[in-house]
Symmetry: C2
Subunit: 205 residues, 2 copies
Amino acid sequence: MERQLRIIVPFKFNGAKGRLSSALTPDQRKELSFAMLRDVLSTVREFGRVTILSRPGLKAEDVGRDVDILESDLDLNDALNDLIEMQAELGWPSDILIVMADLALITRDTVKGILDCQGDVVFCPGRGGGTNMILIRNCIFRTCYQGRRPSFLENLEFSRRSGLSAAVYESFRAGCDIDVPEDLVEVLLHGRGEARRLLEGWGLR
Amino acid sequence: MERQLRIIVPFKFNGAKGRLSSALTPDQRKELSFAMLRDVLSTVREFGRVTILSRPGLKAEDVGRDVDILESDLDLNDALNDLIEMQAELGWPSDILIVMADLALITRDTVKGILDCQGDVVFCPGRGGGTNMILIRNCIFRTCYQGRRPSFLENLEFSRRSGLSAAVYESFRAGCDIDVPEDLVEVLLHGRGEARRLLEGWGLR
């Protein structure tokens, strides 16, 4: 039987993408953030119920229908682990896939790729040691986005210490989160959605 | 019948990796370049005859046995296309796989991945629009590493204009060429060879 999947997309709508400030105005950064989010949502939504994890104040009309918004005042890591604990208390009705909102290049195949990996938990590394997607099949896992070392190492280490089987899913597209001006060219070269059209509309090439 | 493969690894031994100068001394950059080259060679060598394409002066003892060195005074693009033309004149005795010498993360599976792709030519994109590997199965292809636009686009465009079927092989590991200080963490996190041990030996973490 195929397991149910719940997809969590953490999203920061306020002051997002500050490291793009040398290339884009605050309004452009906000617009790009939402465009990337909508690209991610339209890619992942066929795989399960989608929840955007956000600070309070995100407007439903900005993110489209068919998606839940879960507001939290906690920082990213605590908010994610609260959510994991809630699912655990409910008897783990579905696995959890965490997908960062700035993965502007991911496609259906990228998502299928991580879902096809074995393991209690599957990590998809981003550039610089980030963890851009996490597939969680075991309720004792907790995300480690705020440790001393890169989250990819912290997440692997947590799994090891907890006796969980961890797999790594390496993906060119999911490895590419859009953080700094140099990343914009990746959207222009490899993107297929709203974010790319937005950048092209601004005359970026 | 399996087709023969000739693997070309372009390598710059003089003044290599200048963009790492804020993080590494000239000697360290040279040492790292050679370590990455040897990692690449040891990964690709099982797939075919390997030729290092280099400016004159590369010493055989620095790169190990079982590998040819082809010296050329031409720039990268012309040297590669000379080589392709020579193969074409010989009746294309083998396909050609070009692999950049700074792909410190590639594994056997990475190489298998591109070889498994269909197409007259297969491009593996690097960060920023580079083309980190090219598999050439048709003798009319010419590399486009010195165009106006990123080589990935130029190579695709050349294929289209020439009526060649082009495929794209996306790989987290092969997408990661080591050019700037921020890339070193990728070697430390995901590398498995000499380059990683070298960086660790220098106290990088």
